[in-house]
């Protein structure tokens, strides 16, 4: 094995060699630079291979042939080797990226780059404090030199600020080092750590200076203006190295300092790190320059790494796994994003929409964002999972909360940016395309997916990339060039086959959810046949969502559950984002879902109490002080997905603005994931008390109120899809109410709703989507009288609303019947009032839907529209048949699950199914008899009317008794606009958008706070130096105050 010292020797030798070459030469010096960077990378790679694969112990390298304390020594272990490989690889790729700039600058710039990379490797390897100072100064000067390579004239200002601040830092560092030497008598880090520096007189203060100076290099919150300016103005390739390699090396140096300082300094590091992480993320909310935003994000990630370093005492051996995961995720994504920024011409966030001209770049961009935010299957996900569990085990909940809050803010502004890329219109010369730069950026994508596989392999919870559904979804990425119809067939058959494969292993409860999600999804996918184009991006997103759902149902451990939960969130986000105006709504959906997901993560972490692999069933045995909190967090997390009141504002926009066949998928199927979560939670944890308040009682009220609010809001909507979206909130409120009743029939009712809601909501969304496609509008008052032109859609909608309103012959009544039997035995009665009021209100918006679209007066411009496309009508007809069958024989689905449920409530309250009548403890219900009787009465009367009016004469549209005058125009005689005006006068006050206002003020608060506080960075170099000095003094006073 070649000694790592050759990395230093090669770097220096190369630089000096370049000095020898004549000025005019370009290609040869460039070739030498690449060769040397290659050699350095190869050495680091071979050492990493030795440590990782052959498990060699970390090796010490002595210089000057004498023992360490008296000479400088290097130590190369797994961490150092991987960091060195990261540095050299990023350096090599950046050199490739900066080919044109380096050619313009000549061999001197190449020499500086070589020394820069060599110095970074020095910072990583060295175990000597003063040697660390020398290498850090080398990095400072090299950075100052390389910053000037940038085409942006403002880089000069950034360079000056950087030098001023680094002068200050070097002064503190030197004073710290010399006094530390005086106190401990050695300059070697390991000896200093052994000498217990805090005890020796004067040593603590010296270490404080050293520690603060190294932290200042990490761009802590108050004193990081200079770092941001460099990110904004430097050459993107250099920024890539600066954020990944310098960031990584300096954080590792800080980690060495912490080894010297010992446990007493960990809280200080954590505090500074978490403040930086949260503040930088909040500031990034209001940035619209792309590189400055990436700067803020890098500063935030380094802050997070510092926090993790501050927790190294409780992380134990998982420390390198967590810190490595976050660092590598940050490094690869930042490098990739900076390289991408080189391809985009302008610097505004919206200018990145130019990426759309190359779908590959969009995929790269999505990969980097997912990697940075820590979505499955990337390393950040595993790292955040372990970090949360260790923090929760130690009871450091406020820290966990802050980290999750910061991560949520970061996800918000990053995916807002992704929304711009997908949705904003692109300038024609927006993309400065160069194949070399694109290849370098794409290499980062490949590394990202390799890391995903590696971290999955290393994680104790099983590799996500081994999950078949996820692989099936990812398979659609390379297949995206196929025609849409072929992919649709593949998707449907995949779903059905997976359902068929797992059919025997499902228990009755899972079977119902699986039936709704997988074959149900396949049924809705039928509607996707009607597109002609390739529909790039639809199938990977859809299959990702279905993969998440499929894995969610069979998840046994909390990790699989949470991974599936995030997968379906991400998949559905990309799906919803495809809608024409869906950008803001998709963003609010994602932020709410991720907020919910992080709550679930916190809940699982607290429940696990440090257990490595926490089974869902173990939720029942969670210790008392935590159980109610775990229940509350998980419940709120699941209820964000079922859009309970308070967290429902994302649903109307997301479901209404999605595409025709996406709305039913998202509304009919995705909401059930939340319900499945609640089911799992209630089965395992049952009733919980928090401060004497029964949590299921609170859920009861939330369910009732969301049922009322959802239905009430639905009445006053003018847009058909928004009406259906709000009605979903109402129906989900019903289901949550049923679950919260905590008795056998309540749960059965919730299951009834899962099936019913899926069938009629998908049907209604499909028909409204078909109508919107034909009429070109979703506003109900502009339609009317379509019954003659679109009869099949009319039938679907009529059957749908009859079922939904709970009128006897159809399956809706079954749900209501079970509901009534359930509330008979419920111990709380007050919420019933609200649910009874919410019931009939459903009539209002259902009638409004069918009246304004199909009945009433046909408008002139709609005279010649045809029936909805065949592929959209077909699923609707299948749903109609399904509704009829389910209405006639509800036992088909419910009988087995009814038996299965008896185990939860000690057998009382279950239904008995003998013969055709279904009877409970209180009442009975014979669906077949009802259907037959009503059918007979109806047919007799209908035949009688037909016989009497056999000569009835169909009349034209305006032939109505209009008290003698002739109706002027269809618009004036079609009563549709502001349909329930009197109702608004009576109960309108209930629909004040209080929740929307609340959430808007929260986000407005964050944005204005960020906007005001960021003025803190005035741009003046000296002010930044004063900030740094202030930071040092503040930490000093806090530290002095803290010391006993």
């Amino acid at each position: 094995m070649v000694s790592p010292m050759y990395i230093i020797a090669a770097g220096l030798g190369g630089a000096f060699l370049l000095g020898l070459l004549p000025n005019k030469w370009r290609t040869i010096p460039y070739a030498i630079t690449l060769a040397i960077l290659g050699i350095m990378a190869w050495i680091a790679g071979s050492w990493l291979y030795a440590f990782a694969v052959q498990g060699a112990a970390s090796v010490e390298i002595f210089t000057a042939g004498t023992q360490p304390p008296f000479a400088i020594n290097f130590r190369v272990g797994l961490a150092e080797a991987s960091l060195a490989l990261l540095t050299t690889l990023v350096g090599l790729h950046s050199a490739l990226y900066m080919k044109d700039t380096l050619f313009k600058q000549g061999r001197q710039a190449m020499a500086v780059l070589l020394i820069f990379i060599m110095a970074l490797c020095g910072v990583i390897f060295t175990r000597d404090v003063f040697n660390l100072f020398v290498f850090m100064e080398l990095v400072v000067i090299a950075t100052a030199g390389l910053v000037l390579l940038s085409a942006d004239r403002r880089a000069l200002g950034a360079g000056i600020k950087y030098l001023i601040v680094s002068q200050l830092v070097s002064i503190l560092l030197l004073v710290g080092i010399i006094f530390l030497y005086h106190a401990t008598g050695t300059l070697n880090i390991d000896d200093m750590a052994a000498a217990q520096v805090n005890l020796l007189q004067g040593g603590a203060m010296a270490f404080f200076l050293l520690f603060v100076a190294v932290l200042a290099e990490l761009k802590p919150f108050p004193a990081n203006g200079w770092g941001l300016d460099i990110y904004e103005s430097a050459h993107p390739a250099f920024s890539a190295i600066f954020s990944t390699a310098t960031g990584g090396a300096t954080i590792y140096a800080a980690d060495k300092m912490l080894q010297i300082g010992g446990a007493e300094w960990l809280p200080a590091a954590t505090a500074i790190g978490i403040v930086t992480f949260v503040a930088a993320n909040i500031f990034a909310l209001v940035q619209n320059n792309d590189r400055r935003l990436l700067g803020y994000s890098s500063v935030a990630q380094i802050g997070l790494l510092l926090t993790v370093a501050g927790q190294r005492d409780i992380l134990g051996d998982a420390y390198y796994y967590v810190a490595g995961g976050i660092l590598l995720a940050h490094a690869v994504s930042k490098a990739g994003l900076f390289w991408l920024s080189g391809l985009v011409a302008q610097r505004e966030l919206t200018d990145w929409a130019a990426l759309r001209s190359q779908p590959v770049l969009v995929f790269a961009f999505a990969t980097f964002l997912a990697l940075l935010v820590g979505l499955p299957p990337f390393p950040g996900f595993y790292a955040k999972w372990d970090l949360a569990h260790h923090l929760a085990a130690e009871g450091r909940l406020w820290l966990l909360g802050l980290i999750l809050f910061g991560a949520l803010v970061e996800a918000a502004y990053l995916f807002r940016w992704f929304g711009y890329v997908i949705k904003r219109e692109a300038r024609e010369n927006g993309l400065a395309w160069q194949s070399v730069k694109a290849d370098v950026a794409f290499s980062a994508v490949i590394v990202a997916w390799l890391l995903a596989y590696l971290w999955g392999h290393l994680s104790g919870h099983g590799n996500l990339l081994h999950a078949v559904p996820l692989l099936f979804a990812l398979l659609f990425l390379p297949l995206d060039w196929l025609p849409a119809k072929l992919k649709n067939v593949l998707a449907i058959s995949g779903l059905l086959y997976w359902f068929y494969l797992n059919y025997p292993s499902y228990d009755p409860l899972q079977l119902i959810f699986a039936a709704v999600m997988l074959p149900g999804g396949a049924l809705i996918l039928l509607a996707s046949f009607q597109t002609q184009k390739r529909r790039v991006g639809f199938y990977p997103a859809a299959m990702l969502m279905f993969a998440g759902l499929a894995m969610l149902i069979v998840a046994k451990s909390s990790f699989d559950f949470f991974a599936a939960w995030e997968l379906l969130t991400v998949g559905s986000y990309f799906l919803i984002l495809r809608g024409k105006h869906s950008e803001p709504h998709a963003l609010s959906y994602l932020v709410f879902s991720l907020g919910g997901a992080f709550l679930i993560l916190a809940g699982f972490a607290i429940a696990a109490q440090g257990a490595p692999d926490f089974k869902l069933a173990a939720l029942a045995q969670v210790a008392q002080p935590y159980a109610p909190w775990v229940f509350a967090m998980l419940a709120i997390g699941f209820m964000t997905k079922t859009a309970a009141v308070g967290v429902h504002i994302w649903l109307p926009g997301a479901h209404a603005e999605a595409e025709t066949d996406v709305s039913p998928m998202v509304s009919g199927i995705l909401l059930k994931a939340g319900l499945f979560g609640l089911f799992m939670l209630l089965i395992t944890m049952g009733k919980q008390q928090l401060y004497g308040v029964e949590l299921t009682y609170v859920m009861l009220w939330i369910g009732a109120i969301s049922a009322l609010i959802g239905n009430l809001m639905a009445i006053f909507q003018e847009d058909a899809k928004r009406l259906l979206a709000y009605s979903s909130i109402g129906q989900m409120g019903y289901a949550v109410f049923g679950l919260a009743l905590m008795n056998h029939l309540g749960w059965l009712m919730a299951l009834m709703f899962v099936i019913n809601h899926y069938i009629y909501k998908s049907m209604l969304f499909l028909s409204v989507g078909g109508i919107a496609k034909r009429t070109g509008t979703r506003l109900m008052y502009r339609m009317g009288g379509l019954i003659t032109l679109m009869p099949l859609s009319f039938i679907a909608v009529m059957i749908g609303i009859i079922a939904m309103s709970g009128v006897p012959p159809l399956s809706g009544f079954g749900g209501r019947w079970i509901f009534y039997n359930a509330i008979m035995t419920a111990e709380y009665r007050l919420p019933m009032v609200i649910v009874f009021l919410a019931g009939p209100i459903a009539f209002l918006y259902l009638f409004r839907l069918i009246h304004t679209i199909f009945l009433g007066q046909l408008k002139d411009e709609m005279r010649k529209i045809k029936e909805a496309p065949f592929w959209i009508v077909l699923p609707q007809m299948i749903f109609v048949v399904a509704l009829m069958v389910f209405a006639l024989v509800p036992g088909l689905a419910l009988r087995k699950v009814d038996l299965y449920m008896t185990q939860f409530f000690a057998g009382n309250g279950h239904l008995n199914w003998e013969g055709l009548t279904i009877s409970s403890d209180f009442g009975y219900w014979n669906p077949v008899a009802i259907m037959v009787i009503i059918g007979v009465i109806f047919m007799t009367l209908f035949l009688w009317l037909l016989f009497v009016n056999r000569k009835a004469q169909p009349v034209k549209q305006f032939n109505i008794v209009f008290s003698g005058e002739r109706p002027f125009r269809p618009e004036t005689t079609h009563f549709a606009w502001n349909f329930f005006a009197p109702y608004r006068k009576a109960l309108g006050f209930l629909t004040q958008p209080l929740v929307t206002i609340f959430w808007e003020t929260v986000s407005e608060l964050l944005h204005s706070a960020a906007d005001i506080l960021r003025r803190f960075y005035t741009g003046n170099g000296q002010t930044y130096a004063i900030h740094l000095l202030g930071f040092v003094i503040i930490v000093y006073m806090l530290w002095m105050g803290g010391k006993p």
Partner: protein
Amino acid sequence: MMEALVEFNWMRIPWALLTVFIVFNYGFLMTALIQKIAARVGRRHGIPIWQNYIDLIKNYALRTSITHGVMFYLGPVFRLSGGVGLLLFVPTIYGSDMFSNFSFAGDLILALYFVFFGTLGMALGAAESGHPYSAIGITRGLSQMTAAELPFALAVFAVALQYQTLSITDIVAAQQGGVLNWTLFTNPFAVAAAMMSFLGSMMRPPFDVVLAPQEIPIGPPTEYHSSFLAMMQTNRALFPIAKIVVYMNLFFGGAASWPVLFLKVFLIYMVSAFVGVVFPRFRVEQSIRWFLIWAVPLGILAVVLV
């Protein structure tokens, strides 16, 4: 499936038809009588008792009839089958197997929700007529109905909790033996709430903004005529009786024989007529507020106290 058909007692059908015939005629006569009483209160002579029969014959005799489309056609069919269905699903005479009609098919909740079947069908039919007044009428009807239904649902819930059953025959059985153990006396709040909601659903003056004869000439059925109107008028006679039968069974001890039924139905109908002649018409938001302020607290009280 087949064995259910075999043990189904086929004699029920003729008995059910007999019930319908009796109630049909009684309805025609009684509604005309109530109209006459209301007229007499207004110092008018009022219509002859057999007026409804004349209207029926006239409407069926009309030769010309026009239709605005399929749903328009089905409107009255839905309406009447709703009325007849509601009548048949509820046992009219307690204790006699002949007149318990098809109540084996469903219990109280079936009756409670089947009321909407007719309303929904009527709404669809009237909307198909394309007449704006019918649409306005329907919106008023549905809005008012949501508020009116709430106290009734609470009352029903209270009664069901009190007797711990949802089957109507059991509820009636529990109220036998003397006037004092009618629900009227054992659970007065529930009955008060139910009677208030009863006013709302009977289309009598305080809450007849749905038809509003002067403002939007008879609202939903504006476009209906000849045999369609005939079918609707039969329902207008039949449906109140069916609803009152439900109220009678739940709150007033049911009826052991036909004369008792005729008397109780007349008296209950008189309650709404009695109130109707005195009060002017409410606007929709006023009626909603009235229900929510007055009727619903009573219902809540009933539910909580049971």
